[in-house]
């Protein structure tokens, strides 16, 4: 019987302890020049304007190329991509940038790539009907935000000199959607009502709640303007003075809302990548979300690689783009991405010789891997901070001294060595260290100081403190972390907290509703600038979720926004961060590190804090003395 044969074979193999011989998948891939990497999960898509995750970014950055390209080993350095040259028109005030596009740039189907493709892309990602998650990455461009948010009232009235009041006085009107609005129309927002609904509203004013401060006359004008535009059937695009323009096919001019010296860094993000106008329009209209242009048989791209195979939940493979402008310098023939969600499976597959690079290395396996494959384990700083939010609207965290006491009572290093075990770095502040940004180190373990602060706040030895709930996710590791913190606060402050674990989406929702005392959290930076960590703490920031806000802090951010000189700007941002930390709305715990396994065959994969490795600089070479070494456990 076949089954018995197989069983005998298995038994024999086990008894003899046979080791696998012959060529592994990695050996073959190295020989063929194909990089195999773990990529956690099936991507939501390959349309740069629709996705919002890191794993999609890993694939998109192989297929598409933006204005500039990341440097393979230096953070914050931009190399020429679709743009050969870029510069601000006024270096003292970099609020307008010029990108000179390369004249030999083409799409993978041979169509020339011009500035028009970029303009089309910007307009597409900002189209409301596309419902892109990440369109806010383009809000730096003049008039991008009001267009994306369909701010019809603002756009129709802002150039009207006869408009009776200052626009700022209308802040409380529900122009945009308001989930907590009293009427259906408030929930939708005035700007989003159609002509029929506006007429209904004119007939019955009770359908929309206005703030009392808005006079009857102003209401009337707003309604008329909205109705007039809604009836015209025009697109708001015609009303805006969009910042990006193309004076000629190879020049892209971008006018910003305020000076941004690090704009090239932002353009490295895939939301700024060009998408092929001709191909997208062939498969649908500009704002259509569900079209087939990204299917393997249709997709046209401009990066170093083109999509050759996409098997749902199995793999995605890209191979050399023969029409890529820099094809001579592309070091590998292709990349295969494996959507492996189980980190242990991924590590086992690596040890079995099935992949070159893992997405992650399970914390429990770090010791094991370090012993056996010392040169294949990587531990690198990542642009992210893990912290604990405090709810400053709830006792006892209304008192900044209590928040500071809780922060000082955390022994970060002990937490990292004994609980996390991932080689994380104790967070001295909010923004991870990089470049010339030098924040003051304000956070550290000081149990004595912590107790003193708590006593000053009226809770000596933790007596009389209201019940505190620590919100975290339902992962096993979250529980271990929470318990370690619980013990530290108990030992160092005498305070008992209660741990509340919730499933992911419920946890986010609860945090958003501010139904917590303390909440585990973190933030991964989108681009190489401190602002990606600092601007979320503005008063109405959707990611703030602590209830904390401070006018002085916001004034500093505004000042930084108007400072053209990069160094001077960093000094202002450092001041803002110091102010933020002195108020301690969050308790910083550690700066993220990424642990992963990488095969010695992969050359040119250097640590980068954003972890966006430009694939074209990679090489796959087998070291002769390594071929004997078999990476089996």
């Amino acid at each position: 019987m076949r089954i018995t044969n197989i069983l005998c074979l298995l038994a024999a193999a086990l008894l003899t302890g046979a080791c696998k011989e012959g060529e592994t998948a990695v050996d073959r891939a190295t020989r063929e020049g194909i990089l195999i990497m773990g990529n956690t999960s099936e991507p939501k898509g390959l349309d740069p304007h629709i996705v919002s995750g890191v794993l999609e970014s890993n694939i998109i950055s192989a297929l598409f190329e933006g204005l500039v390209v990341a440097h393979p080993s230096k953070d914050g350095v931009a190399l020429p991509g679709m743009a050969e040259k870029w510069y601000p028109t006024d270096p003292q005030r970099p609020d307008e940038w010029v990108f000179e596009l390369r004249k030999d740039a083409t799409w993978s189907d041979g169509t020339p790539l011009t500035a028009e493709d970029f303009l089309f892309s910007f307009r597409r990602i900002l189209s409301p009907s596309l419902a892109s998650d990440y369109s806010f990455m383009l809000y730096y461009i003049r008039d991008a935000e009001p267009y994306h948010k369909s701010q019809r009232s603002f756009l129709t009235c802002r150039n009207d000199e006869s408009f009776p009041v200052k626009w700022e006085t209308l802040k409380k009107v529900d122009f945009g959607p308001n989930e907590k609005g009293e009427t259906d129309f408030n929930k939708k927002g005035l700007d989003h009502l159609n002509a029929e609904q506006i007429r209904e509203l004119e007939y019955d004013p009770s359908l929309f709640q206005w703030p009392e401060s808005v006079s009857q006359a102003v209401r009337q004008i707003l309604l008329e303007k909205n109705l007039e535009f809604a009836e015209s059937g025009k697109d708001l695009w015609e009303l805006i003075d969009f910042g990006a323009t193309a004076p000629d096919p190879h020049t892209l001019r971008v006018k910003l809302n305020s000076p941004i010296a690090f704009l090239p860094e932002i353009t490295k993000h895939y939301t700024w990548f060009p998408v092929p106008k001709h191909s997208i329009l062939e498969h649908g209209r500009i704002g259509d979300r569900f079209t087939e242009w990204t299917k393997p048989e249709n997709i046209v791209s401009n990066g170093a690689f083109i999509l050759t195979s996409w098997k749902f939940n199995d793999h995605i493979q890209v191979e050399r783009n023969p029409r890529y402008w820099d094809k001579e310098n592309v070091g590998i023939n292709g990349i295969r991405y494996l959507p492996i969600s189980n980190l242990y499976t991924e590590d086992r597959m690596y040890f079995d010789g099935q992949m070159h690079i893992t997405y992650t290395l399970a914390p429990e396996l770090i010791e094991y891997a370090r012993e056996r494959y010392p040169n294949q384990v990587r531990n690198e700083l990542y642009l992210g901070t893990y912290f604990i939010r405090t709810n400053v609207t709830r006792e006892p965290f209304t008192d900044p001294r209590v928040r500071m006491a809780f922060s000082k009572a955390i022994d970060q290093q002990s937490m990292i060595t004994n609980v996390l075990k991932g080689g994380q770095k104790p967070a001295g502040g909010l923004v991870p260290p990089f470049g010339d940004y030098r924040p003051a180190k304000t956070i550290g373990f000081d149990p004595e100081g912590a107790r003193q602060l708590l006593a000053e706040a009226g809770y000596p030895g933790g007596k009389g403190i209201p019940e505190i709930e620590f919100l975290t996710t339902d992962k096993e590791t979250s529980k271990a972390n929470a318990e370690a913190l619980q013990a530290m606060w108990k030992d160092n402050l005498g305070v008992s907290i209660r741990i509340r674990q919730m499933e992911w989406t419920s946890y986010i929702t609860t945090m958003f509703e501010k139904d917590y005392g303390l909440a585990a959290g973190g933030w991964i930076g989108d681009y190489m600038d401190p602002l990606t960590f600092l601007d979320m703490w503005m008063k109405d920031g959707g990611n703030n979720r602590t209830g904390w806000h401070n006018e002085e802090f916001e004034a500093l951010l505004k000042k930084a926004g108007n400072t053209g000189d990069p160094q001077a700007r960093y000094r202002v941002l450092e001041e803002a961060e110091a102010l933020f930390l002195s108020e301690t709305p969050i308790l910083p715990l550690y700066w993220y590190t990424r642990n992963y396994l990488i095969h010695p065959d992969v050359k040119g994969w250097d640590p980068l804090i954003l972890d966006n490795h430009p694939y074209k600089f990679l090489r796959l070479e087998r070291n002769p003395n390594l071929s004997e070494q078999n990476p089996n456990p």
């Binding site: 696998k20 012959g22 009907s129 998650d133 939940n313 086992r348």
Partner: protein, 310 residues
């Protein structure tokens, strides 16, 4: 027979609709929505997305439009987390799950039924106790233990067998064993019970008395009746096996359907959730019906009552 099938199908439709209703309202009762992300979206963006998926419509409208679209357009809507039609996701992953499920069922039958027969024939011997003890372990030890053990001890040592992955015929082996082992154990116990009951009956004694060889008595006469409990079990078990297993799929990196049951809930993807839940319900209904028909063919007693009801 025809009337029987028609009435069961009608009942099946009712079951599916009840299933839809329960799943729909449970999905709506979950906290958060598909567009709840760690990096908060602006209210405008969320409103655009809700409109895109029709989630801004009144609840009753949403409740009615989904079955209407299934009937009129054959559409199962678009997954909010995967950005592609639910129908495509199911059809692609179901193919994989069928291959894996059939292999697992094959392994389960090949192991479970013979073991059950042997232990029934050798009742109260060490063979019986031994195999039943192993069967008990098979039922008790979960897939997330067996799977990694197989990976560590077999795949890592055996040439041609990969730790995880899908694509080559040999990749089916380990996940199929992991998936089929507990079913095999159930089958062994059910077969043993069924066989014991049949073996103690008069017609078996008569068969032996007529001088028919023991092996023939067991395979021809006893097994036919003794296997009935297993057949009734295999129907729904088959539906469960071919609709995938989250654990086996994630351990062995199999692009099957099981993971969608879990991930759809985590990502609040109600269309994917409804799609896989209804599809699974549909499979259960069909497989139960098939098991009933098969029992009728195997068991004359059932066939007679079936005929009399005509």
């Amino acid at each position: 027979m025809l009337r029987f099938i028609a009435s069961r199908l009608l009942q099946g439709l009712f079951v599916l609709f009840a299933l839809y209703t329960i799943t729909f309202f449970l999905a709506k009762a979950m906290p958060g929505e598909p567009f709840t992300t760690e990096k908060n979206l602006s209210e405008e963006s969320k409103a655009y997305q809700r409109a895109l998926y029709g989630l801004d419509k009144p609840l009753l409208h949403q409740y009615l439009i989904y079955p209407k679209n299934i009937i009129t357009e054959g559409s199962l809507a678009v997954s909010t987390s995967k950005g592609r039609p639910v129908k495509d996701i199911i059809s692609q992953s179901f193919k994989v799950s069928v291959v894996l499920g059939l292999s697992a069922l094959g392994i389960a039958i090949c192991i479970g039924v013979p073991i059950g027969v042997i232990s029934a024939v050798r009742r109260n011997s060490w063979v019986d106790w031994g195999t039943m003890a192993v069967a008990m372990i098979g039922i008790c030890v979960p897939a997330f233990t067996i799977g990694p053990l197989l990976q560590i001890f077999i795949a890592a040592n055996l040439p041609g067998i990969k730790v995880a992955g899908w694509g080559n015929p040999q990749d089916i082996l380990l996940p199929a064993i992991t998936l089929g082992l507990s079913t095999a154990a159930y089958l062994a116990r059910l077969t043993r019970g069924g066989m014991l009951e049949v073996l103690s009956q008069d017609f078996i004694r008569t068969a032996h008395a007529k001088g028919i060889p023991a092996s023939k008595v067991i395979t021809r006469h006893a097994l036919r009746g003794g296997i009935l409990p297993s057949v009734a079990f295999i129907g729904p078990a088959f539906a469960a096996l071919i609709s995938g297993s989250f654990i086996v799929e994630t351990i062995f990196q199999v692009p099957g359907m099981g993971q969608h049951f879990v991930n759809a809930v985590i990502s609040r993807d109600e269309f994917l959730l409804l799609g896989v839940a209804l599809f699974f319900g549909f499979l259960i209904v069909i497989m139960n019906l098939a098991a009933d028909i098969l029992t009728g063919i195997l068991d004359p007693r059932v066939r007679i009552t079936g005929n009399s009801s005509k």
